[in-house]
């Protein structure tokens, strides 16, 4: 149904210009749509940026939002996808007291079973990194929280789509004009 609220991943290919982030976030703000997460990075094309924005909205809203984003002069293409249409992940880091690693053998099991990676260890603390779905990250956080976490941080979602984006072809078509 068009009217049900679902999680959509909005992918936007843009020029790499100052101010575009403002322009894009304003489109959501104006319509009172809360951004669950927003990530921006280099895309597969040199000089082209990619935004990955996660929002909980209806499909009708998603269509309108994507059109408003595409209307921006420096947007090359924008798409929306459901969770089924994307492969996605998040990443997180934990900073934990080093003592615990030796005093609480349970922690070592948790690390092993969660496929988390130890990034660094020193006398005071060690840092764990884990990528995965939100529920995996949340369950790891709950497990570690029992022992005490000095710092926790989680990234926004990054996602690739199962279908093709064809942005390269679009840009080539422009160059051949």
């Amino acid at each position: 149904m068009n009217g049900d609220i679902k999680t959509f991943t909005i992918s936007i290919y843009t020029e790499n210009n100052i101010g575009l982030l403002n322009r894009i976030s304003a489109i959501f703000q104006r319509r009172h749509i809360n951004i669950e997460s927003l990530t921006t990075s280099q895309s597969e094309i040199d000089g082209v940026n990619r935004f990955v924005i996660v929002v909980n909205i209806t499909e009708e809203q998603a269509i309108k939002i994507v059109r408003q984003i595409e209307k921006q002069v420096e947007t090359i293409r924008a798409y929306y996808h459901t969770e089924d249409e994307t492969i996605f992940t998040e990443s997180c880091m934990f900073k934990i007291k080093s003592d615990l690693l030796f005093n609480e053998p349970q922690i070592q099991n948790i690390i092993k079973e969660s496929y988390a990676r130890i990034v660094t260890v020193n006398r005071e603390f060690f840092v764990l990194e884990k990528s995965g779905r939100r529920n995996e990250i949340e369950s790891l956080r709950r497990d570690l929280n029992v022992f005490g976490i000095m710092q926790f941080v989680r990234s926004g979602r990054i996602a690739v789509t199962k279908d093709e984006m064809k942005v390269t072809e679009m840009l080539q078509a422009f160059n051949n004009q």
């Binding site: 843009t14 020029e15 210009n17 100052i18 101010g19 403002n22 322009r23 304003a26 104006r30 269509i63 309108k64 059109r67 408003q68 595409e70 209307k71 002069v73 420096e74 947007t75 090359i76 840009l171 422009f174 160059n175 004009q177």
Partner: protein
């Protein structure tokens, strides 16, 4: 002081010359064909003004009395000419004062290039004197904007600005230039922008959409067209007329679409919307195919969407894909430039007439005439009406004047009753509803089209929002005709207070100054009319004047504008009283 001129304009484009950023700004404007710009100097834009002084033989800068006036004047210039309007201001308050005009241009798709000065780039973010983040502030109300901090980026930024402002669905663009970029040097060579890779101004028209649209129209028994400003912006007036006449379709217009087809055309059935005509509003909910052309189904046009044209198949022609299905679900969307898509549609249409359907419009017009129009333009009561002033202006202008209206009751009356023979003649603030628009916009319109009669019709409220622009009219000798319809109220708000707030006239009554004395203070010929028998002669004298002329007409204090679709009601619930 000797003024500099460019003898051969090609020289600008072909040779590279070493000049300052500020000279590059002026040479870029000249290369874009700008003959007039509107603005106000100040610290951060002074180097550019110094160059404007040197190039005054090539480009005419108009000093307005407020930056908002500059933005609206540039809008008036753009709306009557179809060219890009240019406004200039300094940093800080100069820039923020442009914002209302920019927002107005954004919602009414008016091509503007606004150039603002900015503090030195090393001071950005330091809360320097007259520093404001104008790029941040203007982002939601511009089609595009940018900040230039290096002289060598100036020509490219301005070329892109003009291209973006004018192409596709037009809109305002702002270029903010730091003072160090203005004073340092660059190797200047101007090249016009021919495209931006991330921007597709005119979507391709799908031939299948034309076939689908033509099939619906050819089979329709009660087709109706509602056209908007997209017809004017696309210069598709002839194509619209050809389509209407070939298929015999009654056609109505939105406020910004007015004048694209002469008012007297037999298939022109009037204005849609809150204070539009009775027939096209009412019959929106009777037609079987509604053909929307270059309009955006604004809420003032549709009333309640839940009861808007539900019985009809909807065809929507637009250049902006974001407008499709935004407010009203369409059955057939035709993307593209209206000039091209209407020409294609014309080919696919059958010759047709819809006489009995057209008669329904005429019958409802007769009712509207009896209940509303007659009393508006041929009043029997003692007090003067706004409608009879418009009638007199029509008599004198023969429908050839450009009417620049402000916002409120007088605007609705002007749009309802002005005769238009010439396109681009209804210049008004539609989407934003900006009081204070008309006086400066009329200056821009008159300067862009000096051979045309330009009549500003303004309420006593809106007039006082930019009344300082009388100074610009005086200094520029712009022969603008100014009609203030004075009811000593903020009339439209008062009307709502009467109808929906039990006549509690909160802050709508105005104690006004001696407007004639004010106009005369600016050496503008002025007259005040309080009686019907003085009106015809006064309007005649005004229209015959070769110079600017101010005419104040004291109208009935508590007249209302009807018909009216109450806010949130259905178009078919339009009220005649």
């Amino acid at each position: 002081m000797k003024t500099q001129t460019i003898i051969d304009k090609k020289e600008v484009a072909e040779k590279t010359i070493r000049i300052t950023g500020s000279e590059a700004v002026v040479r870029s404007l000249i290369a874009e064909g700008v003959d007039i710009l509107y603005g106000y100097p100040g610290g951060a834009i002074m180097p550019v003004y110094d160059e404007l002084f040197k190039f005054q033989g090539e480009i005419h800068h108009v000093l307005t009395r407020h930056e908002q006036g500059a933005a609206h004047a540039a809008q008036g210039y753009a709306r009557i000419s179809g060219k890009v309007g240019v406004a200039m201001a300094t940093s800080g308050p100069g820039a923020t004062n442009l914002i209302t005009g920019i927002a107005d241009a954004q919602i009414d798709s008016t091509p503007l290039v606004c150039i603002t000065g900015q503090v030195f780039s090393h001071l950005l973010g330091s809360d320097a004197f007259q520093e404001t983040d104008i790029v941040g502030i203007s982002t939601p109300v511009t089609k595009w904007n940018c900040q230039v901090t290096k002289a060598e980026d100036i020509p490219g930024a301005l070329a892109k600005a003009f291209y973006i402002a004018k192409s596709g669905r037009p809109g305002p663009v702002l270029v903010d230039i730091t003072k160090d970029a203005q004073v340092s040097e660059l190797d200047f060579k101007y090249e016009k922008c021919k495209g931006v890779r991330s921007y597709n101004p005119i979507p391709k028209t799908d031939p299948n959409s034309i076939i689908a649209a033509a099939e619906l129209i050819n089979n329709a028994k009660k087709p109706m067209i509602v056209w908007g400003q997209g017809v004017i912006l696309g210069q598709a007036e002839d194509e619209l007329k050809a389509v209407i006449e070939k298929a015999g379709i009654p056609a109505a217009w939105t406020i910004l679409g007015a004048s694209a087809l002469p008012t007297s055309h037999p298939l022109n059935i009037g204005m849609v919307g809150m204070h539009g005509n009775y027939a096209p509003n009412k019959l929106t909910n009777e037609c079987d195919v509604l053909i929307a052309i270059g309009m955006r189904f604004d809420d003032r046009v549709t009333g309640s969407l839940d009861t808007y044209a539900k019985q009809a198949k909807i065809i929507h022609f637009d250049i902006d894909p974001a407008e499709i299905d935004k407010n009203v679900k369409t059955d057939v969307a035709v993307l593209g430039n209206s000039k091209e898509s209407l020409a294609l549609l014309f080919e696919a249409l059958n010759k047709n007439t819809h006489d009995s359907w057209l008669q329904e419009f005429k019958d409802l017009y007769a009712i509207e005439f009896e209940k509303v129009i007659k009393g508006d333009i041929h009043p029997e009561k003692e007090g003067l009406t706004m409608g009879e002033v418009l009638k007199q202006i029509n008599i004198e202008s023969k429908g050839n004047a450009a009417i620049v209206s402000d916002v409120g009751q007088h605007q609705m009356i002007a749009c309802r009753y002005a005769d238009f023979n010439v396109t681009k003649s209804n210049i008004t603030s539609g989407g934003l509803g900006t009081m204070g628009f008309a006086l400066p916009a009329a200056i821009g319109a008159k300067m862009a089209a000096p051979d045309r009669e330009v009549v500003a019709i303004i309420g006593d409220g809106g007039y006082q929002m930019n009344i300082q622009e009388l100074g610009t009219i005086f200094q520029q000798k712009a022969a603008v005709k100014i009609v203030v319809l004075n009811n000593e109220f903020l009339g439209m708000v008062r009307q709502w207070q009467q109808l929906f707030f039990d006549k509690r006239y909160a802050s709508t009554e105005m104690t006004n100054p001696n407007f004639v004395a004010i106009a005369e203070g600016y050496y503008i010929k002025a007259k005040k009319v309080t009686k019907r028998e003085e009106l015809a002669e006064a309007v005649k004298e005004m229209m015959a004047s070769k110079e600017s002329y101010f005419l104040e007409v004291m109208v009935e204090k508590e007249d209302n504008v009807f018909p009216m679709i109450p806010s949130g009601a259905s178009v078919s619930d339009i009220r005649l009283s």
